[in-house]
Chain length 402, copies 2
């Protein structure tokens, strides 16, 4: 091994995923015969719609050829129509297919920021904004939100104080991963004012658009006229159609400078996967048959998980409003240590639970005593997992006090 | 439109693909009813193997779930076995599945270079090394190669002169896209000496490994013991299995620092597409039934295209040794202008030909009178396309002299 050989500084700084980095402990547990309930990852157990598989199986292509860099026209049209049904003024030319929402994040950062530029982001946030931010050498500036206020946004005056000459964009994730918070129209309007005042781009992640509960209405950034020319929407089929491994996301924007660059930049990676674009097109066309049922399922699970949290001594959160996550405060000092304990030293009848320590969703060093729960299992398993979590917390407390 | 709103400097600098940027002219031609033979893009017309489709159609997955960030274990094992059959000392742990060869380029740059670091690359080169280099803000330093010497490498002494304190890596593409050149074992050994002397990483793109003609033997960088701990191999199923739209590539490396980072960094984009990894696995297992036939087909086409080039006044190249490209010198001052002319102002019985202007494959400003020909069509079409090219050249010369 050549000792003089160095990894780049940026490669050193890209963090492991907080959702994935403890997976080796889960794998070890499984090797010992332990069943692990994964509440750590946003991977629903809901079957991918039949029409997705059907469209792929029925494709008549003989050659899996490169598609257009911006995605297949049929998919861009289907998405524009879907967005119009959501009262968004969309044309196929405003839609750019990406390789998952992850690539939409990458492109959004590349479009708006140079090295050392700053992006405001409410924390905790979806961890890939942090890792892809490190890849792009962007400085993320956290807007602090807390469990006490259900992770809603602080007043605009607080946010303005964070803006510097280097600030180029604000990221909003609503419904939020990892908190489950849905920002109100008023919250968004306040952000739009800040963005316009300081010439910031709004990067609006609406991947969980349909998953809002208790009749909470989802406001898209594109429902606000004043945001239209300064916004980039990030979206994906992963959760909506339970097709995380398809790697089909998209960017929607009306900004002509971004659109010009989005015609050019994606050519560097040729195209998104071809077959899954057919599957995604079929899903968007059958949207009404697919999504409302999935949403209802998640609302039931949200009810279950929240009920179980209320039953559990020491767990604290507000009622999740959307997506399929919640961030809970745990009665422990170090959630990562607790998650490891659950995987290495604890089980109930050969079963245990994995959570995602929340610290990795924070830009700052906060959240050490919090974890994200993804309620991606069916009701019965979810109840059992929460019961195991409850017992694990008791056992962990006992050991710590010894 | 908000006038104060600026695109990032790096986004401005990422060039459009030289292969794709003139496609709107081809689209316009097609709208006028013109048949366009695409010799511009490395998209073979060879059917993707049946086993690829079969593996996808037979998958029993109900949920298209996230896979491991490093790729499915079955595919990593199949690739390690495939590499061992190529006399490469490979273990599944050395293989990291990427979203196409493009992502393998991105990761290789991120691993080795910080902003403003330098990478040596023989030019002309595969254009995505240029665009992804711009994305990563790397400075590419061209090693000049020319059509007179069949685009082979200059002596090591010449290459050493290009090394500075900022140089971190050398890219080698063999068989080469866009030139079709296959570097000899001696050429590689010379590069390895330079790399070891200056602590450079070798990024070895071997996507076209099997496509070498006239019994030329392909030397992998991993056939050279002294390169093993300093090299990253970039590879892809796109050409080998005619599955460009599958977006399955891989990185192979034995370097422990790179391997640690490749466990971490790909988590930022979750995973490669799941279904295509099953397809790719099936193809690697049936390798012997698939690839030798494809190789023979390309050798036949190489013979055709070279014969046609020799027949054409003013075209000049050396006999292509591998891949399915050649860069030819054209009897024109501006190949881009000529390519546009072929699409907008010329046809033979309603048919025309599209080439890729070679200038976009150069890091420097060279290659303006060269074009890349991808011999991706079957023999008869290829002959017809070359005939049309010949007539187009005559007509273009006539118009220029008027």
């Amino acid at each position: 091994m050549n000792k003089n050989f160095k990894l780049s500084e940026r490669a050193k700084k890209i963090p492991a995923s907080p959702i994935r980095k403890l997976l080796p402990y889960a794998d070890e547990a499984k090797k010992r015969g332990i069943k692990v309930y994964h509440l750590n990852i946003g991977q629903p157990d809901i079957p991918t719609p039949d029409v997705f598989f059907k469209a792929i199986k029925e494709t008549k292509e003989k050659v899996i050829a490169y598609g257009p860099s911006q995605g297949l026209p049929i998919l861009r049209e289907a998405i524009a129509e879907y967005l119009r049904k959501n009262s968004i003024n969309a044309e196929p030319d405003d839609v750019f297919i990406t390789i998952g929402g992850s690539e939409a994040i990458l492109f959004s950062y590349l479009l708006t920021c140079d090295k050392d530029d700053e992006v405001l982001i409410p924390e905790p946030c979806y961890a890939n904004y942090i890792s892809i931010g490190a890849m792009c050498e962007i400085k993320l500036i956290p807007i602090r939100t807390t469990v006490e206020t259900g992770f809603h946004l602080p007043p605009a005056e607080e946010i303005k104080k964070l803006v510097t000459k280097k600030t180029k964009a604000i990221v909003l994730i609503s419904p939020n991963n990892p908190t489950g918070t849905v920002y109100s129209e008023n919250e968004l309007r306040e952000i739009v004012k800040v963005a316009r005042e300081f010439n910031l781009c709004i990067i609006s992640d609406e991947v969980y658009r349909e998953f809002t509960f208790d009749n909470i209405h989802h406001t898209s950034i594109f429902h606000i006229k004043e945001a239209e020319d300064i916004s980039i929407m990030i979206d994906s089929i992963s959760k909506r159609f339970s097709a995380c491994g398809a790697r089909i996301g998209f960017i929607f924007t009306k900004n002509e400078k971004f659109k010009e660059a989005l015609w050019r930049i994606p050519q560097a990676r040729l195209c998104p996967p071809t077959l899954e674009q057919y599957g995604a097109t079929a899903c968007f066309k059958e949207f009404q048959k697919i999504v409302p049922r999935i949403k209802e399922e998640f609302e039931r699970r949200r009810n279950v998980v929240y009920e179980e949290i209320l039953k559990t001594d020491g767990l604290f959160t507000q009622k999740p409003e959307g997506a399929f996550y919640t961030v809970v405060r745990l009665p422990v000092d170090d959630a990562e240590d607790f998650v490891k304990f659950m995987l290495t030293d604890f089980n109930v009848n050969g079963k245990t639970v994995m959570l995602a320590p929340a610290n990795g969703f924070y830009v700052s060093n906060r959240g050490k005593n919090e974890a994200r729960i993804a309620y991606v299992l069916e009701e019965e398993k979810l109840r059992e997992a929460m019961q195991i979590l409850r017992e694990g917390l008791k056992e962990y407390a006992k050991r710590k006090s010894n």
